[in-house]
């Protein structure tokens, strides 16, 4: 049968194909390297990695999956932003529209929501794996620190998104959550020793978070901006450092 090789030749041996794909692929060590270093997306990897870094029974694949879900959430999140306005008079109606009117809106929202929960789970399993393999040991101490901050940012990303539907579930969950800030020692007006700094309901740390004494329009806008812009930007920057240092520290695990 020469059909398949002929077909491949027909498809690939022309100017259009060659203008897109600059070289053919024959499985040689040199080409395996080129596949990685000449591809803008793949060159996040080194050309070669230590063998345990490719074993799923070692890595559980959880760090990579967490990053992938972050990208998944970014894409679904951007699509959701076309249909959602963070205004207290509109937000809930936009959610109902997403669930009943927008084509694939329900599917879009569901996948964003479940992806967020999945990311919290995968990032926590990733941390467990890194701990159990001792991967925070020298020279990777500081990358563990970045990882802990990223874990907290993941929780905050999910938490800020919780308010956006502006339904009873989100409203009261954020009420419970932000009420904790009220009790911050020194900085919250119901916290221990708050009188020293003269904290009141309208000048304490909870007020700064919510932009008010109750959860209203400013709180919704703040949650939205933190959720869609500020935290993703900060998390992206830290992720760059996280991945960069994995490479600079000689792979995901083991002494240098």
């Amino acid at each position: 049968m020469k059909l398949i090789p002929d077909l491949i030749k027909k498809i690939t041996d022309n100017e259009i194909w060659k203008s897109v794909f600059r070289h053919g692929y024959t499985d040689t060590p040199r080409n395996r390297v080129l596949q990685i270093i000449s591809n803008v997306w793949l060159h996040l990897h080194p050309a070669k990695v230590r063998e345990h870094g490719t074993k799923i029974r070692f890595t559980w694949c959880m760090g990579g999956i967490t990053f992938f879900i972050f990208l998944f959430e970014t894409i679904t999140g951007i699509l959701l932003m076309f249909y959602y306005v963070p205004d207290v008079n509109r937000a809930y109606a936009d959610m109902v529209d997403l669930m009943y009117v927008v084509p694939f809106g329900r599917f879009l929202r569901n996948s964003h929501r479940w992806g967020a929960h999945a990311m919290v789970i995968t990032v926590s399993i990733h941390m467990l794996r890194v701990f159990l393999t001792g991967s925070y040991k020298p020279p990777r101490q500081f990358n563990w620190v970045i990882g802990v901050v990223l874990l907290v940012l993941t929780l905050l990303l999910s938490f800020t998104g919780y308010l956006l539907p502006w339904d009873q579930l989100g409203y009261w969950a954020i009420t419970v959550g932000t009420n904790m800030a009220r009790a911050t020692p020194l900085l919250g007006h119901e916290g221990p020793f708050a009188y020293i700094l003269g904290m009141r309901a309208d000048n304490d740390i909870r007020f700064a978070l919510l932009g008010g004494t109750t959860i209203g329009a400013p709180a919704l806008l703040r949650a939205y901006v933190w959720h869609c812009i500020a935290i993703p930007v900060i998390a992206s920057g830290l992720m760059m450092m996280h991945f960069w240092r994995v490479r600079k520290d000689g792979g995901i695990s083991g002494p240098l």
């Binding site: 050309a47 230590r50 345990h52 998944f72 620190v145 904790m180 695990s253």
Partner: protein, 240 residues
């Protein structure tokens, strides 16, 4: 492959590296596909919750934070908000950040082992389980007014009034608290001199202080559940 180390002659250098393409990239690609299919399938079958329009005048009962914070909300039963909602999560984050600097055991770097780092693995795994047990209790077993219900019980507003709580006398509370940390810090150092000497005083105090605080939260829960103790230390300014 051989590398010449300075003045040491030839040393063996084990190169266990493999090509990223296709070994790793293929697996990553498959994982991405599985995760996407899984998420999309789940999203197709299960709808994300959306309740009625938010109403500041009508509180949800129970009002629950997102599930990953319910361990802390559960801790609110036993501690004041400044501790359960602020100090405790801060201590957890600081404790996590400190791990690489406190654990100076060079063994177990890059492979799974329990034998070579029994203390570190036990503490972390127990803490990890503790967190998720509290999350589970807060999520599944707490009903209206945060009352406790077993999984087979129906949530109802009609449950017996919990027994009244009382505080420990202040001097007793202070003695117990100081005694707990004192004994907890001194006793292990005396029994296991080696452990203390290896860590040095600063690492030792930080490690044990954080561990004792974790154990202390469990003890407080036991005191509350068995003896109806509300506060161990009750003062006009701060309660623990």
């Amino acid at each position: 492959m051989e590398v010449r180390a300075e003045s040491k002659g030839l040393v063996e250098f084990k190169d266990d590296r493999v090509f990223t393409w296709p070994t790793l990239v293929a697996k990553e690609f498959l994982a991405a596909i599985f995760v996407t299919v899984g998420l999309l399938f789940y999203s197709y079958v299960v709808d994300a919750p959306l309740r009625e329009l938010s109403n500041p005048g009508q509180a949800e009962n129970p009002a629950k934070a997102p599930w990953y914070f319910l361990g802390l909300q559960e801790a609110l039963v036993y501690f004041d908000p400044w501790f359960a909602g602020v100090a405790l999560p801060s201590l957890i984050i600081v404790g996590l950040i400190l791990i690489p600097y406190l654990d100076i055991n060079p063994k177990g770097n890059g492979y799974y082992t329990f034998k070579e780092r029994k203390f570190a693995v036990s503490v972390f795994v127990l803490g990890y389980i503790y967190w998720y047990v509290l999350v589970y209790i807060g999520t599944a077993l707490r009903g209206p007014f945060w009352a406790f219900f077993w999984p087979w019980e129906k949530w109802t507003h009609d449950f017996p009034t919990p027994p009244p709580l009382h505080d420990m006398p202040l001097p007793l509370g202070i003695i117990l608290m100081m005694g707990f940390y004192f004994v907890g810090l001194v006793l292990p150092a005396m029994i296991n001199r080696d452990f203390f000497n290896k860590l040095g005083i600063v690492r030792y105090v930080l490690t044990m202080g954080l561990l004792l605080t974790m154990i202390g939260t469990v003890i407080k829960m036991i005191l509350r559940l068995s003896f109806s103790i509300k506060y161990i230390i009750a003062t006009p300014w701060i309660n623990i």
